[in-house]
Symmetry: C2
Subunit: 123 residues, 2 copies
Protein backbone atom coordinates (compact mmCIF):
# COMPACT_ATOMS: atom_id res chain seq x y z
CA UNK A 1 0.00 0.00 0.00
CA UNK A 2 1.75 2.98 -1.29
CA UNK A 3 -0.81 5.68 -1.44
CA UNK A 4 -4.08 3.94 -2.18
CA UNK A 5 -5.55 4.48 1.19
CA UNK A 6 -8.07 7.03 0.09
CA UNK A 7 -10.16 7.77 -2.91
CA UNK A 8 -8.12 5.53 -5.11
CA UNK A 9 -9.16 2.01 -5.91
CA UNK A 10 -7.01 2.06 -8.98
CA UNK A 11 -7.04 -1.45 -10.32
CA UNK A 12 -10.63 -2.46 -10.72
CA UNK A 13 -11.48 0.94 -12.05
CA UNK A 14 -8.97 0.68 -14.86
CA UNK A 15 -10.03 -2.84 -15.59
CA UNK A 16 -13.61 -1.85 -15.98
CA UNK A 17 -13.13 1.43 -17.71
CA UNK A 18 -10.36 1.58 -20.28
CA UNK A 19 -10.64 5.31 -20.85
CA UNK A 20 -9.22 5.88 -17.40
CA UNK A 21 -5.76 5.17 -18.71
CA UNK A 22 -6.15 7.69 -21.48
CA UNK A 23 -7.65 10.22 -19.13
CA UNK A 24 -4.63 10.05 -16.91
CA UNK A 25 -2.30 10.77 -19.77
CA UNK A 26 -4.07 13.64 -21.45
CA UNK A 27 -5.13 15.30 -18.23
CA UNK A 28 -3.29 18.55 -17.87
CA UNK A 29 -4.30 21.87 -19.18
CA UNK A 30 -2.08 21.90 -22.25
CA UNK A 31 -1.32 18.31 -23.10
CA UNK A 32 -3.89 17.76 -25.77
CA UNK A 33 -2.97 21.00 -27.44
CA UNK A 34 0.72 20.22 -27.25
CA UNK A 35 0.15 16.81 -28.75
CA UNK A 36 -1.91 18.35 -31.48
CA UNK A 37 0.81 20.80 -32.41
CA UNK A 38 3.35 18.02 -32.42
CA UNK A 39 1.08 15.95 -34.62
CA UNK A 40 1.55 18.56 -37.31
CA UNK A 41 5.31 18.49 -37.15
CA UNK A 42 8.33 18.38 -34.94
CA UNK A 43 8.72 21.56 -32.96
CA UNK A 44 11.38 23.32 -31.00
CA UNK A 45 10.84 24.41 -27.45
CA UNK A 46 10.39 28.08 -28.12
CA UNK A 47 8.29 27.29 -31.12
CA UNK A 48 5.85 25.47 -28.90
CA UNK A 49 6.07 28.28 -26.44
CA UNK A 50 4.96 30.70 -29.09
CA UNK A 51 2.21 28.41 -30.27
CA UNK A 52 0.72 28.24 -26.80
CA UNK A 53 -0.06 31.79 -25.85
CA UNK A 54 -0.32 32.13 -22.12
CA UNK A 55 1.79 29.20 -21.05
CA UNK A 56 4.96 29.83 -19.14
CA UNK A 57 8.20 28.11 -19.92
CA UNK A 58 8.14 26.32 -16.60
CA UNK A 59 4.75 24.82 -17.19
CA UNK A 60 5.54 23.96 -20.77
CA UNK A 61 8.60 22.10 -19.59
CA UNK A 62 6.60 20.19 -17.03
CA UNK A 63 3.87 19.17 -19.39
CA UNK A 64 6.44 18.04 -21.92
CA UNK A 65 8.32 16.07 -19.29
CA UNK A 66 5.17 14.31 -18.22
CA UNK A 67 4.34 13.46 -21.79
CA UNK A 68 7.85 12.13 -22.09
CA UNK A 69 7.41 9.95 -19.03
CA UNK A 70 4.26 8.60 -20.58
CA UNK A 71 6.25 7.91 -23.71
CA UNK A 72 4.08 10.09 -25.83
CA UNK A 73 6.75 12.59 -26.76
CA UNK A 74 10.34 12.25 -27.77
CA UNK A 75 12.90 14.85 -26.79
CA UNK A 76 15.90 15.26 -29.00
CA UNK A 77 18.74 17.42 -27.77
CA UNK A 78 21.22 18.77 -30.28
CA UNK A 79 24.53 19.62 -28.81
CA UNK A 80 24.95 23.01 -30.28
CA UNK A 81 25.42 26.58 -29.21
CA UNK A 82 22.91 27.97 -28.79
CA UNK A 83 21.20 24.79 -27.71
CA UNK A 84 18.43 23.29 -29.76
CA UNK A 85 15.84 20.85 -28.55
CA UNK A 86 13.21 19.31 -30.72
CA UNK A 87 10.07 17.60 -29.60
CA UNK A 88 8.25 15.02 -31.64
CA UNK A 89 5.74 12.27 -31.16
CA UNK A 90 6.92 8.80 -30.31
CA UNK A 91 5.28 5.85 -32.07
CA UNK A 92 2.87 5.65 -29.18
CA UNK A 93 2.21 9.33 -29.47
CA UNK A 94 1.65 8.96 -33.18
CA UNK A 95 -0.88 6.25 -32.56
CA UNK A 96 -2.84 8.91 -30.76
CA UNK A 97 -3.04 11.22 -33.75
CA UNK A 98 -6.32 9.86 -35.10
CA UNK A 99 -7.90 10.71 -31.79
CA UNK A 100 -6.45 14.18 -31.87
CA UNK A 101 -7.81 14.66 -35.35
CA UNK A 102 -11.21 13.41 -34.28
CA UNK A 103 -11.16 15.76 -31.37
CA UNK A 104 -10.29 18.63 -33.65
CA UNK A 105 -13.06 17.86 -36.10
CA UNK A 106 -15.49 17.29 -33.30
CA UNK A 107 -14.55 20.60 -31.75
CA UNK A 108 -15.34 22.40 -34.96
CA UNK A 109 -18.69 20.69 -35.37
CA UNK A 110 -19.38 21.38 -31.73
CA UNK A 111 -18.92 25.09 -32.13
CA UNK A 112 -21.31 25.12 -35.03
CA UNK A 113 -23.98 23.02 -33.41
CA UNK A 114 -24.25 24.91 -30.19
CA UNK A 115 -23.61 28.25 -28.75
CA UNK A 116 -22.11 27.38 -25.45
CA UNK A 117 -24.52 27.99 -22.64
CA UNK A 118 -21.57 28.37 -20.35
CA UNK A 119 -20.78 31.73 -21.79
CA UNK A 120 -24.16 32.99 -20.71
CA UNK A 121 -24.22 31.49 -17.29
CA UNK A 122 -25.77 34.65 -15.96
CA UNK A 123 -29.07 33.94 -17.68
Amino acid sequence: MARSWFSEPPEDQKEVCPVTETQDIIAGKWKIIILWHLSIQTRRFNELHRLLPGISKGILTRQLRELEEDQMVHREVYKEVPPRVEYSLTPIGQSFIPILDSMGEWGIKYKKSCKKAKAYTNL
Copy 2:
Protein backbone atom coordinates in the same frame (compact mmCIF):
# COMPACT_ATOMS: atom_id res chain seq x y z
CA MET B 1 -12.71 42.81 -18.74
CA ALA B 2 -14.15 39.89 -16.94
CA ARG B 3 -11.21 37.73 -16.13
CA SER B 4 -9.14 37.61 -19.27
CA TRP B 5 -6.44 39.86 -17.99
CA PHE B 6 -3.91 37.12 -17.68
CA SER B 7 -2.95 33.96 -19.41
CA GLU B 8 -5.98 33.86 -21.59
CA PRO B 9 -5.79 34.95 -25.21
CA PRO B 10 -8.82 32.88 -26.05
CA GLU B 11 -9.89 33.77 -29.54
CA ASP B 12 -6.92 33.36 -31.83
CA GLN B 13 -5.86 30.25 -30.02
CA LYS B 14 -9.16 28.52 -30.70
CA GLU B 15 -9.09 29.60 -34.30
CA VAL B 16 -5.71 28.08 -34.85
CA CYS B 17 -6.09 24.96 -32.82
CA PRO B 18 -9.48 23.26 -32.94
CA VAL B 19 -8.72 20.79 -30.20
CA THR B 20 -8.81 23.63 -27.71
CA GLU B 21 -12.57 23.56 -27.76
CA THR B 22 -12.65 19.86 -27.02
CA GLN B 23 -10.02 20.22 -24.36
CA ASP B 24 -12.14 22.75 -22.52
CA ILE B 25 -15.10 20.42 -22.43
CA ILE B 26 -13.47 17.21 -21.37
CA ALA B 27 -11.14 18.85 -18.89
CA GLY B 28 -12.11 17.79 -15.42
CA LYS B 29 -10.94 14.79 -13.59
CA TRP B 30 -13.99 12.63 -14.19
CA LYS B 31 -15.66 13.92 -17.31
CA ILE B 32 -14.24 11.51 -19.80
CA ILE B 33 -15.01 8.61 -17.55
CA ILE B 34 -18.51 9.83 -16.90
CA LEU B 35 -19.13 10.24 -20.59
CA TRP B 36 -17.81 6.79 -21.21
CA HIS B 37 -20.15 5.22 -18.69
CA LEU B 38 -23.05 7.13 -20.19
CA SER B 39 -22.03 5.98 -23.64
CA ILE B 40 -22.83 2.45 -22.53
CA GLN B 41 -26.26 3.29 -21.30
CA THR B 42 -28.38 5.74 -19.41
CA ARG B 43 -27.48 5.79 -15.76
CA ARG B 44 -29.01 7.00 -12.55
CA PHE B 45 -27.17 9.27 -10.21
CA ASN B 46 -26.25 6.70 -7.62
CA GLU B 47 -25.40 4.24 -10.32
CA LEU B 48 -22.78 6.64 -11.61
CA HIS B 49 -21.67 7.26 -8.10
CA ARG B 50 -21.00 3.58 -7.63
CA LEU B 51 -19.27 3.31 -10.98
CA LEU B 52 -16.82 6.03 -10.03
CA PRO B 53 -15.13 4.87 -6.89
CA GLY B 54 -13.60 7.76 -5.08
CA ILE B 55 -15.79 10.54 -6.33
CA SER B 56 -17.99 12.37 -3.90
CA LYS B 57 -21.59 13.19 -4.61
CA GLY B 58 -20.83 16.86 -4.64
CA ILE B 59 -18.17 16.55 -7.28
CA LEU B 60 -20.21 14.15 -9.34
CA THR B 61 -23.06 16.62 -9.33
CA ARG B 62 -20.80 19.42 -10.45
CA GLN B 63 -19.15 17.51 -13.21
CA LEU B 64 -22.55 16.44 -14.47
CA ARG B 65 -23.83 20.00 -14.32
CA GLU B 66 -20.90 21.24 -16.32
CA LEU B 67 -21.41 18.55 -18.90
CA GLU B 68 -25.02 19.62 -19.01
CA GLU B 69 -24.06 23.24 -19.59
CA ASP B 70 -21.87 22.09 -22.42
CA GLN B 71 -24.87 20.19 -23.78
CA MET B 72 -23.11 16.89 -23.60
CA VAL B 73 -25.40 15.29 -21.06
CA HIS B 74 -29.13 15.26 -20.62
CA ARG B 75 -30.68 15.18 -17.19
CA GLU B 76 -34.11 13.66 -16.87
CA VAL B 77 -35.91 14.09 -13.60
CA TYR B 78 -38.77 11.74 -12.81
CA LYS B 79 -41.22 13.16 -10.36
CA GLU B 80 -41.44 10.19 -8.08
CA VAL B 81 -40.87 9.30 -4.49
CA PRO B 82 -38.14 8.45 -3.97
CA PRO B 83 -36.78 10.72 -6.67
CA ARG B 84 -35.17 9.28 -9.74
CA VAL B 85 -32.83 11.11 -12.05
CA GLU B 86 -31.37 9.63 -15.15
CA TYR B 87 -28.44 10.89 -17.09
CA SER B 88 -27.91 10.22 -20.74
CA LEU B 89 -25.95 11.62 -23.65
CA THR B 90 -27.44 14.36 -25.77
CA PRO B 91 -27.04 14.12 -29.54
CA ILE B 92 -23.92 16.20 -29.22
CA GLY B 93 -22.71 13.90 -26.49
CA GLN B 94 -23.45 10.91 -28.65
CA SER B 95 -21.42 12.37 -31.45
CA PHE B 96 -18.51 12.11 -29.06
CA ILE B 97 -18.88 8.38 -28.54
CA PRO B 98 -16.52 7.36 -31.35
CA ILE B 99 -13.82 9.38 -29.69
CA LEU B 100 -14.54 7.76 -26.36
CA ASP B 101 -14.32 4.36 -27.96
CA SER B 102 -11.07 5.27 -29.63
CA MET B 103 -9.72 6.47 -26.36
CA GLY B 104 -10.73 3.24 -24.70
CA GLU B 105 -9.11 1.09 -27.34
CA TRP B 106 -6.06 3.26 -27.35
CA GLY B 107 -5.81 3.00 -23.59
CA ILE B 108 -5.78 -0.77 -23.79
CA LYS B 109 -3.14 -0.83 -26.49
CA TYR B 110 -1.18 1.69 -24.51
CA LYS B 111 -1.05 -0.49 -21.47
CA LYS B 112 0.24 -3.36 -23.53
CA SER B 113 2.84 -1.41 -25.42
CA CYS B 114 4.47 0.22 -22.48
CA LYS B 115 4.94 -0.21 -18.83
CA LYS B 116 4.43 3.24 -17.56
CA ALA B 117 7.62 4.81 -16.38
CA LYS B 118 5.55 7.02 -14.14
CA ALA B 119 4.75 4.13 -11.86
CA TYR B 120 8.41 3.64 -11.13
CA THR B 121 9.32 7.24 -10.68
CA ASN B 122 11.40 6.29 -7.70
CA LEU B 123 13.91 4.37 -9.80
